[in-house]
């Protein structure tokens, strides 16, 4: 089906189903309960899950397949974002031109950066990409302020030209839309204690992610994908087999740069603002961590990694001491105090600490990332099926 093997199609359909029903799955707790704090089914976070999923899927095409560790991928995300916001300012608030332009511009930028950086391998390559990204960040923050808006970034303004759009009614602000369907529009469904939100922007981004994932799977399973893995495995043998590794790695670099640009464009489409710190090295580091955390070189791993990090950042950081006391309200005060004292350093402003501990635990106990964790659980329940076709790629008989 769809030109995919059985195991791939299972994973793919699983992702599709999870994505479609995400508003339900991410909101497991009734609205009024104390655990509602852990609900993640609101538009912004759902959008971020899929957008960073795209970013990580793209990064994995480069890192997972060829083994080239880019430490500057956030630059492409940032460049894509700037391209998209300028399209919105100049042409139209319809997201399509912005997204297309973000992919194109990021691709062109990736050709330039990749062409130079790929002259080196290993850590030398990583530092070259890092250097390009840091230069982009520093310049966008300071001397390029006329183009990038500097520290305060860019947002659509009422006074922007928007040549293709009809003039706004007075009092109306420019909003990102898809042929008139606004990204911010939400449908809500209340079922007894639960409220589920279906957001247009999320579904637009989700469809893009599903397409992006589908393309990524096709790339993974294509002869091109095999060649990229050959780059990682043995470049010497590759050359003596009549293959030129350079264009392969450059192509992978550009494709993954375009994925990053796509993610950047979508970020602008969902939330019309760009700031330069989107290109800072920590943002590049984040996508590396997402990929490794989920499982390098696996198909769904990067999406899981992206989801986990964004969940921590957005949910854990919002829990404060008052909320803890609310949870433990039924306990005697002294016990509640102790519990709060123990838990408090790990939540709210301490969410970084929890993140650090999770990084360490995953890499120590699950060397293959979250995907390996999933496989182990799968095996525990006696399922012989390989959840991830990657490590045991068999020819379909």
């Amino acid at each position: 089906m769809l030109g995919l093997s059985k195991s791939d199609i299972r994973i793919f359909l699983l992702v599709v189903v999870l994505t479609i029903f995400a508003p339900f799955i991410l909101n497991p707790f009734p609205e009024a309960s104390g655990l509602a704090q852990f609900n993640a089914g609101y538009p912004d976070l759902m959008q971020r899950f899929v957008i960073f999923g795209i970013f990580a899927i793209g990064f994995n095409i480069l890192f997972g397949l060829t083994g080239y560790l880019s430490f500057g991928h956030a630059a492409f995300l940032g460049v894509g974002s700037y391209a998209a916001i300028w399209m919105m300012k100049l042409l139209t608030m319809n997201v399509i031109p912005g997204i297309i332009m973000s992919v194109l511009i990021a691709g062109i930028f990736a050709v330039a950066v990749g062409y130079i950086s790929l002259k080196r391998t290993g850590i030398y390559f990583s530092i070259l990409t890092l250097a390009f990204a840091q230069m982009s960040f520093a310049l966008a923050y300071s001397v390029l302020t006329p183009i990038t808006g500097g520290e305060t970034g860019l947002q659509p303004k009422i006074s922007d030209p928007r040549m293709l759009d009809a003039a706004l009614a007075s009092g109306e602000a420019p909003r990102a839309n898809l042929f008139g369907l606004e990204m911010g529009t939400s449908y809500e469904l209340a079922l007894s204690g639960w409220v589920f939100t279906f957001n247009v922007g999320y579904y637009v981004a989700a469809i893009v992610m599903i397409i992006a994932l589908y393309i990524a799977i096709r790339i993974f399973r294509s002869p091109f994908g095999v060649m990229l893995r050959a780059v990682k495995s043995n470049q010497q043998r590759m050359r003596y087999t009549g293959l030129n590794p350079k264009p392969y790695t450059l192509a992978a670099f550009v494709i993954s740069g375009m994925y990053a640009g796509l993610a950047g464009g979508l970020m602008v489409a969902m939330d019309t603002q760009v700031g330069p710190e989107r290109m800072f090295w920590t943002a590049s580091g984040e996508v590396v961590l997402m990929t490794i955390l989920g499982g390098t070189g696996t198909i769904v791993g990067p999406i899981l990694g992206a989801g986990l990090i964004k969940y921590m950042e957005n949910i854990l950081s919002k829990i404060n001491a008052d909320i803890l006391y609310e949870w433990f309200a039924m306990l005697p005060d002294s016990i509640a105090d102790i519990l709060v004292f123990v838990i408090y350093p790990f939540i709210g402003k301490g969410w970084h600490l929890t993140l650090g501990i999770i990084f360490m635990c995953v890499v120590i106990f699950l060397p293959g990332g979250l995907v390996e964790g999933g496989q182990r659980i799968g095996n525990m329940f006696g399922r012989k099926k390989k959840t991830e076709g990657e490590k045991s790629s068999q020819p379909a008989e």
Partner: protein
């Protein structure tokens, strides 16, 4: 001319900090083949050794001074440190004044312990794992160390001044016969420069002239062969890790009077120190030192207003620009060895 001389001096000082951090990082890279993203955190922990020591010295008791009022209008509580009350105001405040240099004695065992525990407890298990895993685990560790410090000391910078004796600056210009105040340099920065020179010299001579150092150098070149000779290279590498931790820690500790330490100072230095190490060339100690000074001096030049006027923004990107140029002209950095961290 004066201006250029001044910036060279500046660059040497800046470079000595870079070189010191890069030296420790390279020791770990070169000996253990581990990409240690927690190295910046070690630098930070070293700085907080000084802060902690200062805090310990400043443990005090409170007396109430009814003549003054606190912010709520109540009588002011005045803190007097035990040290001052025990040793008298002269000796006591003298010790407090010298808290940063004295804390070296406190920091060395702490850093050795941290280095030892880190290597035995964690890093050891990652020698044969991919670099990506090493990055993830050491980055996680760096975050944890950082957050622990933040939990106890907050996010704000904490002032840790140098001893009174080193306050102010030395007039180089006058010393070499130029006009007064053309080339001035803070005393503590000179101390830092000499201190790092001392550390660098100590590490080099340790590796060069002791049998221990020879084995480690041999191990850096070819780990397996040395292992076959029946030498317990693992134990030596543990010691090397502890040494690298001490170097990083002392670099951070001595840096505290220059910039007040805060919990994320390690991350601020991390990227830069990686750039320095790579520009110097993987696995080359002298390369790391050389690159540290080179980048320090170039950064200083780029910050001159005459240079910025010609190339706006150059001060923002100089380090990275130089890194790119060097890596493109010299494939393995200034003095890198072939095959180290190239795959």
């Amino acid at each position: 001319m004066d201006a250029i001389l001044l910036q060279i001096l500046n660059g040497l000082d800046k470079g000595s900090a870079y070189a010191l951090i890069a030296l420790g990082l390279t020791l770990i890279f070169g000996t253990l083949g581990v990409v240690n993203f927690a190295h910046g955190a070690l630098f930070m922990v070293g700085a907080f050794c000084a802060v902690t020591f200062q805090r310990i010295l400043n443990i005090s008791f409170q007396t109430i001074d009814p003549t003054k009022k606190d912010f709520l209008g109540n009588p002011l509580k005045v803190d007097t440190t035990y040290i001052e009350s025990w040793l008298g105001p002269n000796l006591g405040s003298g010790i407090l004044d010298w808290a940063v240099p004295i804390s070296i004695l406190f920091a060395i065992p702490v850093m050795i312990l941290i280095g030892y525990v880190m290597e035995r407890g964690l890093i050891k298990h990652f020698y044969r794992r991919p670099h990506a895993d090493q990055i993830l685990v050491t980055f996680g560790l760096a975050i944890v160390l950082q957050e622990i410090i933040k939990f106890f000391y907050g996010a704000n910078p904490i002032p840790t001044p140098a001893p009174e004796m080193f306050a102010g600056s030395f007039d180089f210009g006058a010393a070499v016969g130029l006009a007064e105040d053309t080339i001035i340099y803070p005393y503590w920065r000179l101390v830092y420069f000499l201190f790092s020179m001392g550390i660098i010299a100590a590490v080099f001579s340790f590796l060069q002239f002791t049998t221990f150092g020879m084995v480690v150098r041999a191990g850096m070149a070819d780990r397996e062969t040395v292992g076959l000779l029946g030498i317990n290279i693992d134990r030596r590498f543990t010691i090397m890790f502890a040494i690298a931790a001490v170097v990083a820690g002392l670099a951070g500790l001595m840096y505290t009077p220059i910039n007040a330490p805060n919990y994320h100072m390690g991350m601020d230095f991390l990227v830069l120190s990686f750039v320095v190490v790579v520009v110097g060339g993987m696995g080359s100690l002298s390369g790391a030192v050389l690159a540290g000074f080179l980048l320090g001096i170039l950064e200083s030049f780029a910050s001159m207003k005459e240079v910025i006027a010609i190339l706006p923004g150059i001060n923002q990107i100089i380090i990275y620009l130089v890194a790119i140029i060097i890596l493109l002209t010299r494939p393995r950095g200034l003095m890198g060895r072939k095959g180290v961290m190239e795959d």
